[in-house]
């Protein structure tokens, strides 16, 4: 019992320190772009019956951190990608300036719908902590 108490205090201190860092350190992103690419050969795979999913049904972006959606078609044929048609080698770059839910028709999904959820800039310690936790969960 005596041995466990210092260990618990150490773990709690580390957790508190990490939470403090996550809440107080300003968020910085190297790139504000969230990139999705259609790989070469996607059309051939779909024709062969493979239901290739490239875009998630919901994309979450954050103003001021990652608020630019970039779609790129690396395949050899035109593709309906997100809201629009992209020619081979063409990309589409859409910046967002207002936090909101954006609904796009998208034939790549069975629902025919794609949602882009743009969240406000995490300006408060709690918002920064929440954003970092979500990013961590996404990465794992």
């Amino acid at each position: 019992m005596k041995l466990r108490t210092p260990a618990l205090i150490l773990v709690a201190s580390c957790a508190l320190g990490a939470a403090g860092w996550a809440g107080l350190t300003p968020i910085h992103a190297d790139s504000r772009e969230q990139l999705f690419e259609i790989p070469k050969g996607t059309w051939a795979r779909r024709m062969a019956g493979d239901p290739v999913e490239i875009l998630p049904k919901e994309i979450r972006l954050t103003l001021g951190v990652r608020d630019v959606l970039v779609l790129r078609n690396l395949d050899d044929v035109p593709q309906t990608f997100g809201p629009t048609v992209l020619m081979p080698g063409q990309s589409f770059r859409l910046p967002f300036a207002v936090a909101s839910d954006y609904q796009f028709a998208c034939t790549a999904h069975a629902s025919g719908q794609m949602t882009i959820l743009v969240e406000p800039f995490p300006a408060t310690p709690w918002a920064r902590l929440g954003w970092r936790v979500r990013e961590l969960l996404k990465a794992t």
Binding site: Q90, A97, Y102
Partner: protein, 189 residues
């Protein structure tokens, strides 16, 4: 001569790239030529996209019975057009219907005239309009409700530059000022 041509092409591309970086709309890189079409215009004449080369075209899709998206978009476009002032004559709004059953040229002319009499509508056969939608990646799903029907359709607009290149896509809900901002960039020499 060839080197001069290549230099001019490079400069035009560089100018286009710097313009695109400043746009509030989503931009295509590289831009492709907007697919041309031939429809019946609300003004009674043939409506061809290529007819408007030299102007910036805002291309919208919808139907005159639409109660949600279209009135908002067209009101936004009318306000933006008004705000352009002297430059308004260099911008053309083209509105293509997804509902040829109800939207004949006369009905479209009356409907669009309520927003801005310079707006031009386009209608045609089911096949013609389906081809235009396919070329531009537009979706339109008919929804029946009792004796009536409506459409769920793509709500964004396309911005086509004076050379006929499909430059950008403006999502639904942008303000007239956002349009004016981008249109002024696309009207720059």
């Amino acid at each position: 001569m060839k080197a001069l041509g290549l230099s001019l092409l490079f400069l035009a591309g560089a100018a286009s790239a710097s313009q695109d970086a400043a746009l509030k709309a989503g931009v295509f890189d590289p831009p492709r030529t907007a697919p041309d079409f031939s429809l019946r215009g609300s003004d009674g004449a043939e409506l061809r996209l290529s007819h408007y080369r030299g102007k910036v075209v805002i291309l919208a899709f919808g139907f005159t019975s639409c109660t949600e998206v279209c009135p908002t978009t067209l009101a936004t476009l009318a306000a933006a057009h008004e705000k352009l002032g002297a430059q308004r004559d260099r911008v053309q709004v083209v509105y293509v219907t997804v509902d040829p059953e109800r939207d004949d040229p006369a009905r479209m002319r009356k409907y669009l005239g309520g927003f801005d009499p310079t707006f031009v509508g386009g209608t045609g056969t089911d096949e013609q309009l389906a081809a235009v939608r396919r070329d531009f990646g537009i979706t339109a799903t008919r929804k029946t409700s009792g004796d009536s029907y409506s459409f769920s359709h793509s709500s964004y607009t396309y911005l086509i530059d004076r050379a006929g290149l499909l430059r950008a896509l403006m999502p639904y809900g942008q303000t007239p000022d956002d349009y004016v901002h981008d249109l002024r960039i696309l009207l720059e020499p």
